[in-house]
Symmetry: C2
Subunit: 132 residues, 2 copies
């Protein structure tokens, strides 16, 4: 079951510059900046109302976010939906024929996470996250 939008992620070349821009223009300040080695990124999380914006800068030049920047440039990267049980959702989505990027939930910044391929979702990369 989808409980809400956990965050919307924005891929940027330089995390500090992006954070400065959004602080300068909108007064939005990150509550934390973290390395997420398994996704090959450094991330800044900005709480905004009941959801979050997340800026991600690739630290691994061979990772998905680095490839995204090379092909599409900076911009909105994915939407993360909060779910009750990521593994259950993956089973259900697999049975319905959705193209999964992760076949099993793994530990991410937002909890137990998994990505669904944009080919199944009208070009939208969706992350599922089950909070700790």
């Amino acid at each position: 079951m989808i409980k809400g939008i956990d965050h919307v992620a924005i891929a940027v070349k330089n995390l500090d510059e992006a954070v400065n821009t959004f602080e300068n223009l909108f007064g939005l300040r990150p509550s934390r900046i973290e390395d997420i080695p398994d996704q090959g990124v450094r991330a800044a999380v900005i709480h905004i109302g009941d959801t979050e914006l997340e800026f991600i800068e690739p630290v691994n030049p061979n990772g998905g976010v680095a490839r995204f920047l090379e092909t599409k440039g900076e911009g909105i990267h994915h939407i993360c939906l909060e779910v009750d049980d990521t593994d259950e959702e993956l089973k259900r989505l697999d049975a319905k024929g959705a193209k999964l990027i992760d076949r099993q939930a793994r530990k991410g910044l937002a909890g137990k996470v998994a990505f669904i391929h944009p080919k199944s979702l009208h070009g939208v990369l969706i992350e599922l996250a089950q909070k700790a």
Copy 2:
């Protein structure tokens, strides 16, 4: 002042297909489907937690959303931030040198709205919306 994320908009070629896909895979159903002539789109709004996903299909082949689909394909199109006063925000952003698409708020689906150019915002198209 930024009060929250009003919605995240997804540009699609066929609104009904996109709505069916997200209902089938995630159980998400639109609460309303509306024409927004001044933006040249038909839109489906899905409440999700305290925010919304909005699918938009161009009905005007010369509009911005049609051009987006031609050049980038289907995918996440913009983030809408709720503000207290759209015209005040535009004045403030203009004074800070942000590139504005709309210099004055106009009536949109989400209230009194205006768009800020992605060139000023690390590739992110931002809509501001002041609720009615």
